[in-house]
């Protein structure tokens, strides 16, 4: 239980924010940042821990969003149930894409390109298929009741997305300590060596992609409930694929808190940039993301979360060089 203390503290602190901050603008910013964090947490399972860099996590975000929306609008399914089914559908999609790619032995950049292709195909299909509302998109009827998973106050939405982030943090932490997690990290570090040690690399990656898809889908499902609208560009657009991978990489891929930290920092900087440059400056936040990414990879390849460790390592290395040399000869 003690191991969960950092998660409990972080979540408790974040949960207190709406009690102090009442500005809708700030809360809206935080809700979106947490939603991106959640999408990044999904990516982090497969990319951060498993080393399989997906460029197409929009496939999961979008499928979660569309399934949640379509089930409610066209089939009258309860929003909570639709939310769960959206997650389940994306988990299944993760297993499907994973099965196709990992079984055929795609690794590295080939895997990245194929995931990107899947997301793009889904985007194009969604932009013409009647069931998604094609080019018009799908609107969810305003129904501000808890049963419909819609809330009048931003704070409630904030707590809902925070709860989802908390669940994802706990899942990540459990994976990190489990045998599955050890195998997943081993596959990331060296797939052949892992297989020689009895790790079924294909099965491990497949499971990771399924979990990864489910978590990122939850962000998509939430998007729909929050904004009550989805179209193909939002659901399957490259924006979410990029944010889902940028936030964990900047925050610290393969760490429990990396995506959350990355999302908060990146989103804050993006907002800041838009405020400094007054008026319309489309794409300016992307420029900021790019600069932050370069800086982080330059100074701390393990992400912002690794900055402290990186500084300590440099400091220690500078201080103990002769000892390290001796150890090498010993």
């Amino acid at each position: 239980m003690k191991a969960f203390a950092p998660i409990a503290v972080v979540i408790a602190l974040l949960a207190a924010v709406p009690l102090i901050v009442h500005s809708n603008v700030t809360l809206n910013f935080l809700v979106v940042a947490l939603m991106i964090a959640l999408a990044g947490q999904g990516w982090n399972i497969l990319g951060g821990y498993g080393g399989q860099y997906s460029f197409g996590h929009a496939a999961f975000f979008g499928t979660g969003a569309y399934v949640t929306a379509i089930l409610q609008v066209r089939y009258g399914v309860n929003a909570w149930l639709a939310f769960g089914l959206g997650i389940a559908a994306s988990a299944a999609l993760g297993a499907l894409i994973g099965g196709l790619t990992f079984r055929s032995g795609l690794r590295g950049s080939y895997f990245a390109l194929v995931t990107l292709a899947f997301a793009e195909v889904l985007r194009i299909v969604a932009s013409v298929a009647p069931i998604t509302g094609a080019g018009v998109g799908t609107l969810i009827k305003l129904d501000l009741r808890a049963e419909a998973l819609q809330f009048e106050s931003r704070a409630m939405f904030y707590w809902v997305i925070l709860a989802l982030v908390a669940v994802a943090l706990i899942i990540t932490h459990l994976i990190e300590r489990s045998r599955f997690g050890a195998w997943l990290i081993a596959v990331r570090e060296n797939e052949d060596a892992a297989m020689a040690l009895g790790v079924d690399a294909t099965a491990v990656k497949l499971a990771a992609m399924t979990i990864s898809g489910a978590i990122t889908a939850a962000a998509g499902c939430f998007y729909v409930q929050y904004f009550l609208f989805v179209d193909s560009g939002i659901a399957y657009g490259t924006w979410i694929s990029i944010e889902a991978l940028l936030t964990p990489i900047i925050g610290g891929a393969g760490t429990v808190f990396g995506p959350l930290l990355g999302a908060l920092v990146v989103k804050a900087l993006g907002e800041g940039a838009l405020m400094v440059v007054t008026g319309e400056a489309p794409g300016l936040d992307l420029v900021v993301f790019g600069c932050v990414l370069v800086l982080v990879i330059w100074f701390s390849p393990r992400g912002l979360i690794g900055v402290g460790a990186e500084l300590r390592k440099r400091f220690r290395r500078a201080g103990t060089r002769p000892v390290a040399q001796e150890a090498r000869h010993g």
Binding site: R177, S178, R179, A182, W183, I185, A186, E189, N190, D192, A193, A194, M195, A196, L197, G198, V199, D200, A201, R328
Partner: protein, 250 residues
């Protein structure tokens, strides 16, 4: 004695037009150390990859523990008790020594604590106890070789395939690790090793197979194969055996 633990029968492996391994048969007797030697490019590592399931043979069968395991994937063979080390060491570079060994230990220990305890025990056996918390990429070559060995041992193998665990080590490091390998054999682990360091082969192996240009050209005790003219020629070139025989006053 019944069937040997490992029996390779007529295995060939072709890469396009190159026949890397050509109709090789060899066996590793239960509880013994068997060595596979041969000049560079003889096909030793390819043969190992076939035995360990990393490559499918173009022809022939691999039998292990009396069962046909030809073409079984590595992770399944590992579950049956076949472990291998890599000639080019493949540590999980970003992890500590302890975490590296833990991955192997998880094969038979589901719980994290049990796997970590098993990893510590294995580290003691191969002499890595002092380095347990060091990142694997800070180890010396000798340390990395030990780590390869430790990870493989953590899977609790019955058959251990060692691909040049002594290569790149200095004589004193070799002296340190030879007793470790003998200790494993004494514990009942069957060992098949590829080795270039002849001094070690002579002192460790009970049976030696010599591979050259994809074929087994000699087999027997270390003393027998060392005296075999075909082996000398394979290593030193055509006519070398005769020249050595003539100039024996040296």
């Amino acid at each position: 004695m019944a069937e040997p633990l490992l029996a390779v029968q007529g295995v060939s492996r072709r890469f396009g037009g190159l026949l890397a391994v050509n109709g090789v048969s060899l066996s590793a007797a239960q509880g013994r150390i068997t060595a596979l030697i041969g000049p560079n490019g003889a096909g030793k590592t390819t043969l190992f990859a076939v035995i360990a399931g990393f490559l499918k043979p173009s022809d022939g069968t691999v039998r292990y523990g009396g069962e046909d395991v030809t073409g079984e994937p590595p992770h399944r063979l590992a579950r049956r008790g076949v472990a291998r080390t890599f000639q080019i060491v493949q540590p999980f570079a970003g992890l500590t020594v302890r975490e590296n060994i833990r991955v192997g230990a998880h094969l038979h220990h589901r719980a994290r604590e049990a796997a970590l305890a098993a990893a510590e025990q294995v580290a003691r056996e191969v002499g890595l106890t002092d380095m347990l918390d060091r990142p694997a990429d800070t180890l010396t070559v000798a340390g990395r070789k030990r780590l390869e060995l430790a990870r493989a041992l953590a899977t609790e193998p019955k058959l251990l395939l060692l691909d040049e665990v002594l290569a790149g080590l200095n004589p004193s490091e070799i002296r340190d690790i030879v007793p470790v390998i003998q200790g494993l054999r004494n514990r009942g682990i069957t060992i098949l090793m590829i080795e270039h360091v002849m001094q070690a082969v002579m002192s460790l192996a009970e049976h030696v197979f010599v591979l050259a240009e994809g074929r087994i050209i000699a087999a027997g005790t270390p003393a027998q194969v060392a005296a075999d003219p075909a082996v000398i020629e394979a290593y030193l070139g055509h006519g070398a055996a005769a020249k050595l025989g003539a100039g024996h006053g040296h």
